[in-house]
């Protein structure tokens, strides 16, 4: 996406954020349209967020998760696509454990496909909601220094945020142990730090990533206590960022692993709850825009 497109999504999402706060709905917008949440990976918050967004705009929302789908019975991803296509759904929200799976589906179905997180590739609506949250607080994205911290290697959230924030003119840093840093990550236009204090110096935004527990069993870090000591965000490390730096986390948090509770729950500096709120607004904007586009195509 180009900066003007991103701006227009954020502007629309902003209006939905206001609408949601006012308690009103726009149930006629997607009336009669079908949204399928197709989740091959467990997710409560993203699925709920899309479900709520769809319902607030009046769509019929169906949730399919892997445990109830035919995939367990041996159906391939493309068989699933053909089946869904035959059902004439309008919007397909896909979460999959493999990078590129939603893109593959998108080529085979007529519905608009929204990537709700694919493998370690991308999570675009997360980056949009993060951008909206930052923009509401800081009034802009351009010129801000944003640190993305933790398991960058396995994080689709990190990748999407790097792409979006860099496009919008933020300076992006990534901080984490070398074992959790993807190769050639500097080619994405970021600065790499292995020392968190150094990396946080002068940052406006500190974005923490969730550390997947299975990373430990893969042996990429020695222990949670060590991870917290060097890469967990606590008040002492946060003090190295700007005095008014804001803290974000895509959730769900591992308290005491990547973030200390007092930082996560800081009512002034933590944006974590606001991120969830903006998530619904951003997804409403995305559904709205895609539905309109498909309408034009009809």
């Amino acid at each position: 996406m180009h900066p003007p497109e991103i701006e227009s999504v954020l502007d629309l999402a902003e209006s939905y954020a206001l609408l949601n706060r006012s308690g009103k709905t726009q149930r006629d917008l997607l009336r009669g349209r079908t949204l399928i949440n197709l989740f091959f990976e467990d997710s409560t918050r993203t699925r709920t967020s899309f479900e709520l967004a769809g319902k607030r705009l009046g769509a019929d929302v169906i949730n399919m998760s892997v445990s109830t789908s035919s995939v367990n019975k041996g159906e391939t991803l493309l068989d699933t696509a053909a089946t869904l296509n035959a059902m004439n759904c309008d919007l397909l929200v896909v979460r999959h454990g493999d990078s590129g799976a939603p893109a593959l589906l998108a080529r085979k179905v007529d519905a608009a496909v929204i990537n709700a997180g694919d493998g370690t590739h991308e999570h675009p609506t997360q980056a949009l909601l993060d951008a909206l949250t930052i923009r509401r607080r800081r009034g802009r994205l351009e010129g801000l220094t944003v640190a993305i911290c933790g398991d960058v290697l396995h994080s689709r959230v990190a990748r999407s945020n790097i792409f979006l924030l860099s496009a919008m003119g933020s300076r992006v840093r990534v901080i984490g142990p070398p074992t959790l840093m993807p190769a050639e990550v500097t080619r994405l236009g970021v600065e790499v730090f292995h020392d968190m204090r150094e990396g946080l110096e002068g940052c406006d935004i500190v974005m923490m990533l969730r550390l997947q527990k299975e990373r430990m069993t893969r042996g990429l870090i020695p222990s949670f206590r060590e991870f917290f000591r060097f890469y967990g965000l606590d008040a002492e490390k946060l003090a190295f960022a700007k005095p008014d730096a804001l803290v974000m986390h895509p959730g769900p948090m591992n308290r005491g692993v990547e973030i200390a509770s007092d930082v996560a729950d800081d009512p002034i500096r933590s944006l974590i709850k606001e991120q969830v709120e903006m998530g619904v607004a951003v997804r409403m904007a995305v559904l709205d825009m895609l539905a309109r586009r498909n309408q034009r195509n009809d």
Binding site: T179, L220, P222
Partner: protein
């Protein structure tokens, strides 16, 4: 503490490029002045060196000290006695003990145990993997904070390429060097001597020297991938040294050490199944020994370590293949190194550099220099005094020297730790 002045000594400090006749003044445990032309303070205790060499206390970057878990072989106290007799005042202790040094508390414990001796600073290595088992990363960050000087699994090679990559990569974040025992474990398994005519004649299971080069080649390639800092311990073959030399030229952060047996002895020392000469890596062919000497001279080798491995008599009183590998080396480190000086292979300053500034630089520590203000860790030795190594008569507990019977020139007269005499 009264002032102490060494007069009529040859001051030799490779770190500063210093080699001159002069004097050195110790005040409050530190080097207060050195050189020529400063007065003798009133009341100072005088040591007349009679032309002997005064150099920094030696830094031994690789030794087993028996603790914890191997106290029947050696204790820190007995190792400290042997070290002082060898002129060593700083020693890096290996972590593959029982239990392994893989917890921050154990690192602090070893440091404290060194301080208790009053004569020896112990720089603890910490395990690179939990339990030195080669399976899971140890807590390198916390261990480093506790004072670990570098990371290694000791005598166990880190066999898995994936594990080595992770260790090199992770250690980089904490500015720590990874030390490898360069031996491809599947090739070395069960071997007792270097492969060749002698092992064949004796009918001993052999380790091909390529087991070393293979591991060095692999790890250098991994280092190129990860960045970070790598050190190869007790390198013993010309082929491996050639790889390291080339990697240094390419600018990789790689260092290596060797140990006296690898430049002073060759495979023939095992003679008629002498288990005291069973070492790991095994003593090599003469051409490899010569390659090690050449690498000492050309700077490929950064340090000479004692590679002290205390063994109990019962560990060695076994058929050769079953006997434990390893030899003691603290008391003989200096004199066996000096044999290369007397033999004309390397100059004295270079030899001492390999025992002081070299290992300090590899480990990133401040020891091993005669700088003003530095702790007065000193070694005074007679370059030419002759003596003979005799197993059973060595200082310290363990006596398993591969140099039994070796006639040597160069003997420690005295050793000082922070200005206090601890030997001689």
């Amino acid at each position: 503490m009264t002032d102490l002045i060494f007069e009529n000594v040859r001051l030799l400090d490779p770190a500063a490029g210093l080699d001159m006749a002069g004097a050195l003044l110790v005040r409050d445990g530190r080097i207060a002045d050195l050189g020529r032309g400063f007065g003798r303070p009133e009341g100072a205790r005088v040591i007349d060196g009679d032309g002997a060499v005064l150099c920094p206390g030696l830094v031994d970057m690789r030794a087993e000290v028996g603790e914890p878990g191997g106290e029947y072989r050696e204790t820190i106290a007995s190792a400290a006695v042997a070290a002082a007799a060898g002129g060593i005042t700083t020693l890096a202790a290996l972590p593959d003990t029982k239990p392994a040094i893989d917890d921050p508390a154990l690192v602090r414990h070893l440091r404290a145990r060194g301080e208790e001796t009053g004569s020896l600073t112990i720089l603890p290595y910490a395990a690179a993997t939990k339990g030195c088992r080669g399976e899971e990363l140890a807590e390198l960050g916390l261990l480093r904070e506790a004072g670990a000087v570098a990371f290694t699994d000791g005598a166990r090679a880190i066999g898995s390429a994936r594990m080595m990559r992770l260790i090199l990569s992770y250690a980089k974040a904490f500015g720590a060097r990874v030390v490898q025992h360069p031996e491809e474990p599947t090739l070395a398994e069960g071997g007792a001597a270097t492969s060749g005519e002698l092992a064949t004649r004796l009918g001993l299971p052999a380790i091909h020297p390529a087991a070393e080069a293979l591991m060095v080649a692999r790890d250098l390639r991994l280092l190129r991938m990860t960045g970070g800092a790598l050190h190869f311990a007790h390198v013993s073959t010309g082929e491996a040294l050639g790889l390291i030399r080339a990697a240094k030229t390419d600018g990789l952060d790689v260092t290596c050490d060797t140990a006296p047996p690898y430049f002073d002895l060759n495979e023939t020392a095992i003679g008629n199944f002498r288990t005291y000469a069973k070492l790991s890596p095994p003593l090599r062919a003469e051409e490899d020994r010569l390659a090690v000497v050449a690498a000492l001279a050309d700077g490929t080798i950064d340090a000479i370590a004692s590679d002290h491995q205390p063994r109990d008599a019962d560990d060695k009183r076994l058929p050769f293949a079953q006997a434990a590998a390893g030899g003691v080396g603290l008391a003989t480190l200096l004199a066996v190194t000096l044999a290369q000086v007397h033999g004309g292979a390397i100059p004295l300053a270079r030899a001492l550099g390999l025992l002081t500034a070299g290992p300090s630089k590899v480990l990133g520590v401040k020891a091993g220099t005669l700088a003003k203000g530095a702790p007065a860790d000193l070694c005074l030795f007679d370059l030419d005094a002759a003596w003979q190594v005799e197993a059973g008569e060595l200082p310290g507990r363990a006596q398993n020297t591969p140099f039994d019977g070796r006639a040597l020139e160069g003997r420690v007269i005295g050793t000082w730790k922070a200005g206090r005499r601890v030997f001689g």
